[in-house]
Amino acid sequence: MTSTTEQFADVSATTLLRFATAGSVDDGKSTLVGRLLHDSKSVLTDQLEAVEAVSAQRGQDTPDLALLTDGLRAEREQGITIDVAYRYFATARRRFILADTPGHVQYTRNMVTGASTADLAVVLVDARNGVIEQTRRHAAVAALLRVPHVVLAVNKMDLVDYEESVFASIAEEFTAYASDLGVPEITAIPISALAGDNVVEPSAHMDWYGGPTVLEHLETVPVSHDLTTCPARFPVQYVIRPQTAEHPDYRGYAGQIASGVLRVGEPVTVLPSGRTSVIAGIDALGESVDIAWAPQSVTVRLADDIDISRGDLIAPSANPPATTQDVVATVCHVADQPLAVGARVLLKHTTRTVKAIVKEIPSRLTLDDLSQHPNPGQLVANDIGRVVVRTAEPLALDAYADSRRTGSFLLIDPADGTTLAAGMAGESFASQARTTVQADDEGWDF
């Protein structure tokens, strides 16, 4: 392990990995997070002192590392994690943003929140219990949200005598299950978060394991490839028109490239209007460039003066998305008020917000066994279900399987602005859809 000073000796050469943790209440998630932060020397003296002081005040012998992550009064009072917390730490190789998500069944929406921006999810299981319902639920959410990498951390190996066979059978069962759901990459690691085996330091108790530690894997797993190999998508956020003496004719379309690569000279189509032009220039935050890629925030200038505003999407003419007013999607319901067939809602997709109506809720998923219940009529908090939504205006929507950025949307209550549901367009659980011969007509194949 490098020291803090060494860590930042070459700070310019670090990428950013966003990851989320998921685990049941007593799987040792807090201990794992605490161990990662502590052993990577990311817990500073005053934070540790504060935790020690509170732990001692409560009569505990050792500092309760969960206090590092449970930041709210109610969380500390109840000893549970209620809401997602974001943690930051770094090693010599990489910077990390950790979305620390609660494990309770009723907080599935919080795991969805954490997983929506994650490049990787760590699913924790207790080696004594193996794969349980909650593990399957976490794997299903990771698959649904299309988190590119999943780590299965088999914890508490010290309590099963560091037995290879215990780890192997759990890893096998989980890998088979998660692969069926379409999780593209699964890495299983035997650990003891309490003893520190294979979290940051390699374990001295498991000679039979030749793979990376959790931290080593986090440091080396590739990120961001997927975004730039997809077709380019550029949602227009804001039109920049200085109208000053210095820049009388400047007209630039500001936005963050959602996927792919944009090049000067490339023919583009603006959706939903379908007008075409050519990229005349790209300004990367004050600097003129020939090429830019996701997720850079840039300003694009076009060769023709055409009508473009916030909510439009610029895409290569060679590969534009289809536009539609009938959105078929999977949603995770995140609000306390239910979502019923016939509800009038707002749909926010990239930079565009449109009126919409929920036409159908064909099915609701039971995460425990992945069974589907047809026509539930409504979805309530933490439900995951299929919906058909009709929008007032056409949307340039990709399948979520192709782009997490342009295939995702929110449903919003127009009355009070509540975020009702997180939506993912197109089919769910890709590998099943692609490998199941008898996929049904609606593409609904949970």
Binding site: V11, L44, V54, H247, A254, L285, S297, S408
Partner: protein, 312 residues
């Protein structure tokens, strides 16, 4: 046209990777533009401290070559460092911005706020801040808060809805999914927006170094008359120190944060350059707030309690 890329990331396996600073910058710029696109009257909280200076720099880049489409708001505690006020006024003039000032001293003089027995003015900022937001009808208020600062802030959303009393209710936060920020609010409510949510103190300093951003001099080591109170080195001055039994002395110090003089402590340091500051911070075993903020030590949930009332 210039050659491709300014900050291509070296040493990775991906041809199109971004350095972590570029990724954070890109995300912050996206947040600024979302607010510009969706709100009627946004404002940037600007204290002249490093985080708000970085915010302003990012806002300038986000809308270039057009001017920043936001005004600034400063809550003046009446005990600010003169160098910082000077910096604030120069920045406003240089970029032709409009600045609103909400003054804690005016509230005290008018009898609307009472000075605390310990003389600490940071908690008194909440009332002038929230009243300025209501009176000037701001619907989006940018703050430089970072989630790495404090455990209650680690729970904060990028877009944080506040009710008509400017209150934060951590149990009723909207889930924040993907980069789809929901800024909808009723009249009288507003949204606090934190574009630096995912930045750490070190990220801020590295970005300042990379971009060559000027800072108030108090961030760099200098000799100053200070005295010790509650384990912190405070600047001596008319605001209320030293008192009897507190001995002023000259020390080589610098500030890690900039706030009210009554509760912002200095650290011993000989770091006179950006590089030296970055080396010092990378090696520090204390958090920024743990080292220099008295008000966060008032209770275990001091920040959460103040945020609930409308503090930034």
């Amino acid at each position: 046209m210039t050659a491709t890329v300014a900050h291509v990331h070296e040493g990775t396996d991906a041809p199109y990777a971004l350095s972590h600073l570029d990724a954070l910058e890109s995300e912050a710029v996206h947040i600024f533009r979302e607010v510009a696109g969706e709100f009627e009257k946004p404002v940037i909280l600007f204290s002249g401290g490093k985080d708000s200076i970085v915010m302003l720099h990012l806002a300038l880049k986000a809308f270039a070559p057009a001017p920043v489409p936001f005004t600034l708001l400063h809550v003046d505690t009446g005990h600010n460092f003169p160098e910082v006020l000077d910096y604030r006024d120069r920045a406003v003039a240089q970029h032709n911005l409009r600045l609103h000032v909400a003054s804690v001293q005016e509230y005290i003089d008018a009898g609307k706020l009472r000075e605390r027995p310990d003389g600490v003015r940071n908690p008194l900022q909440t009332v002038p801040l929230t009243e300025a937001i209501q009176q000037l009808k701001f619907d989006a208020v940018f703050g430089g808060g970072r989630r790495d600062e404090e455990k209650a802030r680690a729970k904060e959303r990028v877009f944080s809805l506040r009710d008509e009393f400017s209150q934060w209710d951590p149990r009723r936060q909207r889930p924040e999914l993907w980069q789809l920020y929901n800024g909808r609010h009723a009249p009288g409510e507003h949204v606090r927006v934190f574009p630096l949510s995912n930045w750490t103190e070190l990220d801020v300093w590295q970005y300042i170094a990379r971009e060559g951003i000027e800072l108030p001099e108090i961030y760099f080591a200098h000799e100053r008359e200070v005295f010790q109170r509650n384990g912190m080195w405070l600047t001596a001055g008319e605001w209320g120190g030293p008192k009897e039994g507190e001995t002023p002395q000259k020390r080589l110090i610098r500030y890690r944060t900039v706030g009210d003089m009554s509760c912002t402590g200095a650290v011993d340091s000989d770091a006179t350059t950006l590089d030296a500051v970055i080396t010092e911070i990378a090696a520090s075993r204390l958090t920024e707030r743990g080292a220099t903020r008295a008000d966060d030590k008032m209770s275990e949930a001091a920040m959460e309690d103040r945020k609930r009332e409308g503090y930034f």
